[in-house]
């Protein structure tokens, strides 16, 4: 059986609480600590290592459970907070072996706090770090130091901000998030916007019910899938996972302890169809918009997932690998050339493109995760252009977020001709933290060579 590229809940899943052998693993970390009513404190599920994961995107051991809070609108943006149990993740500073470090959660009470931030007008998830400041308070007293959450990618959540945050006790917490203006180059519908500092505040209760929800909601996959190449499909953000059989009369019911919510908001059954992430399945091509935040019931606030547009939605001439120059445009994201397992789309927009300077063309390079099309931010890319074996240009690309094409790396270029070769060099890999399943990919990234094909790829 071919491995699925994306992994959904129809595939073998076991849940904590069900008595199977695999679940002997799902124990508790906090032996010795007790809750207020004397039960053993279970702040996080057992973390299972995948032995020898491939240097590629791989299927983790489990699907994380989380509590979604109501999105908050602030000026041009909206912020959706999500809370899970503290868990390991990997931070990246540089490109060598020592540049990636696994973060171990601290013992005791705490949450993995996450935010998705998006532009309200375009629905684009903002995949950039400008130094958010998060402060946590309990009874008016600040808890711990202020913190700047890491930019992170996860298979379920796409691009988001997050960190593990220790909490001193069960109780009510107030979180303030300050987001400074976006300094990354913005174009199209985003140009000259996102220029103000925005502040959002939310509250949450950390208690036994929360722990049961997020620890108990974890789903372990059958062991045979752990570490195989592929990715979990994006979760269906928002609280409408069960939209086919629940009526969500109250918009804030997901704050409570209603158990139907924990985990059901990630896609399953028909909900999968809604998120057109599963390139490998080939049956989702009719889904056009990547910021599909408008098609659920009005009373749900949908949280967009940071998927880039599909290949066919990019204008211009899509460049090919030299060996595949006559094969036509790759049909699926997963068929794009890969470097460090990142799929890389390169297209040349004709002169006169709004992205180009003067009458030059525009080279748009869009590295993304191979299955879920999550943009890979904070890389440094450059290109070398050759014609008839001689170098004609060497350019550093600028990280840019466009209202239509979202995050990419680009530069204006002189007109390219069929047969020109364009080599994309990854000067440094994406400097974003990773959840399990992404930490071995997008690190050692080889140059990729492309050729301008004879005819327009469309």
């Amino acid at each position: 059986m071919p491995r699925p590229h994306t992994f959904d809940r129809r595939t073998f899943v076991t849940r904590t609480g069900t008595a199977t052998a695999a679940l002997a693993l799902a124990g508790c970390l906090e032996f010795g600590e007790e809750t207020d009513n004397g039960a053993e404190l279970e702040t996080a599920p057992e973390v299972i290592e995948v032995e020898d994961p491939p240097a590629a995107v791989y299927i983790p051991t489990h699907r994380e459970a989380m509590r979604m809070l109501d999105p908050i609108e602030a000026g041009d943006i909206a912020i959706a907070p999500m809370l899970s149990y503290p868990h390991p993740f990997w931070i990246v500073a540089g490109s060598g072996e020592d540049a990636i470090e696994r973060v171990e959660p601290e013992d005791g009470r705490g949450v993995h706090m996450m935010f998705t931030v998006w532009d309200r007008e375009t629905g684009i998830v903002l995949p950039v770090d400008d130094g958010a400041r998060v402060t946590v308070e309990r009874d008016g007293e600040q808890v711990g130091s202020p913190l700047s959450p890491w930019t992170m990618i996860s298979q379920e959540m796409g691009f988001h901000f997050g960190d593990n945050v220790s909490l001193p006790a069960d109780g009510e917490y107030t979180v303030t998030v300050e987001l400074p203006p976006i300094s990354t180059t913005t174009t199209g519908a985003l140009e000259d916007r996102l220029t103000d500092t925005e502040t959002a505040t939310f509250e949450f209760t950390y208690d036994e019910a929360f722990r049961e929800e997020v620890v108990g909601g974890v789903e372990y996959f059958d062991e045979s899938f752990w570490g195989t190449t592929g990715a979990l499909e994006p979760m269906d953000h928002g609280d409408h996972g069960d939209h086919d059989d629940h009526d969500h009369q109250s918009g804030d019911d997901h704050h409570g302890d209603d158990h139907h919510d924990d985990g059901n908001h990630d896609g399953h059954g028909t909900a999968d169809e809604h998120h057109e992430s599963a390139d490998g399945h080939g049956d989702h091509d009719d889904h056009g918009e990547h910021d599909d935040h408008d098609d659920h019931g009005e009373h749900h606030q949908h949280v967009p997932y940071s998927a880039l547009a599909r290949i066919g939605e990019y204008p211009g001439t899509i460049l090919r690998e030299p060996a595949a120059v006559d094969d036509g445009v790759p049909a699926e994201n997963a068929d794009l050339p890969r470097s460090g397992d990142a799929a890389v789309l390169v297209t040349v927009l004709e002169s006169g493109s709004r992205l180009a300077d003067g009458d030059e063309g525009y080279l748009l390079v869009s590295p993304r995760t191979p299955y879920n099309r999550v943009p890979l931010a904070d890389m440094a890319l450059s290109v070398t252009i050759e014609r008839d074996g001689g170098e004609t240009a060497e350019l550093s690309l600028t990280q840019t977020i466009d209202g239509e094409y979202d995050l990419h790396y680009g530069a204006s270029v002189e007109a390219l001709e069929a047969g020109d070769s364009v080599t994309v060099t990854i000067d440094s890999p994406p400097q974003v933290a990773r959840h399990q399943g992404y930490e071995t990919a997008f690190l050692e990234m080889e140059d990729l060579e492309f050729v301008v094909p004879e005819v327009d790829g469309e």
């Binding site: 540089g94 130091s145 220790s166 300094s183 000067d427």
Partner: protein, 433 residues
């Protein structure tokens, strides 16, 4: 302010808490528990204050150095904010009599304590808000704008009181005692009778009083404070775990001295107060990442820093090559060092700032009071721009230490020369007192 609880704290932490609390009771408690004893052996000052350096900021020649020759700031610091007392707040009554009072008070400190780590060093600086009450404005030779936010990430409060006294000594009891002595709560300072105090001229602005400490091993002793991890190296002098302040990365006192005009011999001072997230820094990053981000990626690859900067000896090893590599490191390595970035602002190869920053746990949170001297505030602004590095193509989390710092306050000050330090006017030449 309530005193810290003796029973629940280590001795050093308790003493630190006493310095933070301030006041006569804290001083008494401090003398009881420190090795200082009730009669600490603190060297006396000079009978001839005129023999002291002309510049208030001339501390270096009198401070001790470590085995590698790096100047060691005194261990305990108090930043004591002052407001002109109501009676003279409009400025019209700032006259020679007031000046004499202030000068006499400050000279009392110089007579009581040796100008050294073991004794006391201090400065008094004045804000733009102080000078704003006079009809005259400051001469062009002094660059002292109102403080402002210097990065897109911060919304700081500003020091808008009038003056700031920076007191520093290795003896916690000395900084406490000096502060008490100046404000009339102490009859003797180090055995010397106090004749004049400053309370006719200044009120203390207690809510903005700040305190701190610096020195090998002191940060690790605060591991019981929320947000200070155990993993901080036991010898580290600064919260972020490394030595700092190497001579080759510091401006000289000459360099930061105002050369012309009525305030020649003075300097400007910028004070910013910031929180530091040490949890991410120590619990999440590895040593290699810390060295890359604090010094430079090359420092990390070459393993120049050792465990807490000791392997650097007396030099930051911030060579022109490493400084010039900043832009390339941003793109090609994905990370740049804080010191490397800031060093881009050097002029003629010389650092522009003389940094006298120290750690704090004011508000029971780890932080830094960043005290920087330079000849003009604009020099600070330029260096801070270089440190912020918006020109660099690098993820913010890997752009030095920006990710961990949260600026809460900023203040700008003029430190006049010693002979002009007592409630100067914008045009006052050294006032003869």
């Amino acid at each position: 302010m309530t005193l810290p609880d003796r029973s629940s704290l280590s001795r050093r932490d308790y003493v630190r808490g006493l310095v933070a609390a301030g006041g006569a009771t804290a001083l008494g408690a401090c003398l009881d528990v420190t090795s200082d004893g009730p009669e600490p052996d603190v060297p006396s000052g000079t009978d001839d204050p005129a023999s002291l350096p002309d510049r208030q900021h001339a501390w270096n020649d009198s401070l001790s150095t470590d085995a590698d020759g790096t100047i060691q700031l005194p261990e305990h610091h108090v930043l004591c904010p002052l407001a002109l007392s109501d009676a003279i707040a409009d400025g019209t009554d700032i006259d020679d009599e007031r000046r004499e009072t202030v000068e006499a008070g400050l000279q009392t400190l110089e007579r009581a304590y040796e100008w050294s780590n073991e004794g006391l060093v201090f400065t008094i600086g004045y804000t733009p808000a102080y000078f704003a009450r006079f009809d005259d404005s400051l001469p062009d030779s002094v660059d002292l704008p109102d403080p402002e936010a210097l990065t897109a990430q911060e919304t700081p409060e500003f020091d808008e009181f009038d003056a700031l006294l920076h007191l520093a000594s290795d003896h916690p009891s000395v900084v406490l005692e000096a502060e008490e002595g100046l404000f009339g709560d102490r009859e003797q300072l180090n055995g010397l009778e106090v004749e004049t105090d400053l309370s006719d001229v200044f009120d203390r602005v207690v809510q903005h009083r700040r305190t701190g400490f610096i020195g090998e091993g002191l940060p690790a002793e605060h591991a019981d404070v929320d947000g200070v991890p155990d993993s901080i190296h036991e010898n580290a002098p600064f919260f972020m775990g490394f030595r700092s302040g190497f001579a080759d990365s510091q401006a000289t006192e000459d360099r930061v001295t105002i050369e012309d005009g009525p305030f020649a011999g003075g300097a400007t001072m910028h004070v910013s107060s910031m929180a530091i997230n040490l949890t991410q820094w120590f619990q999440q990053e590895n040593h290699y990442q810390r060295v890359s981000k604090l010094f430079s990626p090359d420092h990390a690859d070459e393993e120049l820093a050792g465990e807490y900067g000791e392997a650097l000896g007396g030099s930051s090893a911030m060579t022109p090559d490493r400084i010039d590599a900043t832009e390339a490191d941003a793109r090609e390595r994905g990370v740049v060092g804080h010191a490397q970035k800031a060093a881009r602002a050097r002029e003629d190869g010389e650092p522009l700032l003389l940094r006298r920053d120290f750690n704090t746990v004011d508000g029971d949170q780890p932080g830094l009071h960043f005290v920087s001297l330079q000849d003009e505030i604009d020099a600070f602004v330029r260096v801070r721009e270089a440190m912020t590095g918006t020109d660099l193509e690098v993820a913010r989390a890997n752009s030095g230490i920006l990710h961990y710092l949260f600026v809460n306050r900023r203040g700008n000050y003029l430190l006049p020369a010693r002979d002009a330090r007592a409630v100067p006017t914008p045009t006052s030449d050294s006032t003869d007192v």
